[in-house]
Amino acid sequence: MSEPHNHGGAAEHGHAQTVFQEDERPSFEAELLDLAVRELLIEKGIVSADEIRQAIEAMDTRGEALGAKIIARAWVDPAFKAKLLESGDEAVRAFGVDMRPTELCVVEDTDEVHNMVVCTLCSCYPRPILGIPPAWYKRKDYRSRSVREPRSVLAEFGTYPAEHKDVRVHDSNADLRYLVLPQRPAGTDGWNEEQLARLVTRDSMIGVAPVRDPRALTDAAE
């Protein structure tokens, strides 16, 4: 993968074999447009600077905890799970989540299928549930390689789905947002929702890693 020339970045520091491509910064015009529209909206009294700040703060503080609660509920409540898979939007409304204008699509891991999510076109992500996507999710190498060589990408995350499994990549390229419903691990019989939620990580809901090992939590409690 040698380039006849480069445009700066890692290659200039002697790493010509780098496998990733740095994302470009937004154009100067785009930044100016953002600033101009924001100032106009404030000036016309449509939104206040504090409302914008609050919206950013709310987005930043959302994280895996909400998603983990939803997954734990699905593990203990078959009716909720059925609804979550059938009509994700409606199901998560019980958790105060409003997915509009997008729709939620929950995909279930089974003994035969390992799901993973990517947005090749940009960085679409179930933000109302998981908040801001991790930096790697937005990077061009994750976005391009996940659809082309998903098992290699998973291996870099330390995840090795069995050969016989269908590694199913979901390209979140349009109006749906995806959440992976991982399999409930063995050794959790009798656990309540709160205990189960502690097993569910952000990466397990994107599909790049398994949930936490229940033994790790049991050991920690002892």
Partner: protein
């Protein structure tokens, strides 16, 4: 809006070049897959991106592809990929 395709139908993604904001990635263009579900009708993003209302709405599908149909040298027999494609990018396939 009546969907032209139903789950299980074989469809081919149109292999056309179209300038502007398009949400059909190149890697699925010209490829054949199977409709996984009819998602519903949505404003056309190719219009929406330019401040237009996105009319007429387009039916959106989730289409299932075998990875070996997307990439000639793919290894991992049963692996698959699912992606959202609007109806005006799909043709019936045999």
């Amino acid at each position: 809006m009546t969907p032209r395709f139903q789950p299980g139908d074989r469809v081919r993604v149109d292999d056309r070049e179209q300038p502007g904001h398009v949400r059909t990635p190149h890697y699925v263009r010209g490829k054949t897959g199977v409709v996984e579900r009819v998602v519903g009708s949505f404003p056309n993003p190719e219009q929406l991106a330019y401040g237009l209302p996105g009319l007429p709405y387009k039916v959106l599908y989730r289409v299932h592809f075998r990875q070996t149909d997307l990439w000639d040298d793919y290894r991992g027999g049963d692996d698959s990929l699912e992606i959202e494609i609007y109806e005006h990018w799909l043709d019936a396939a045999s």
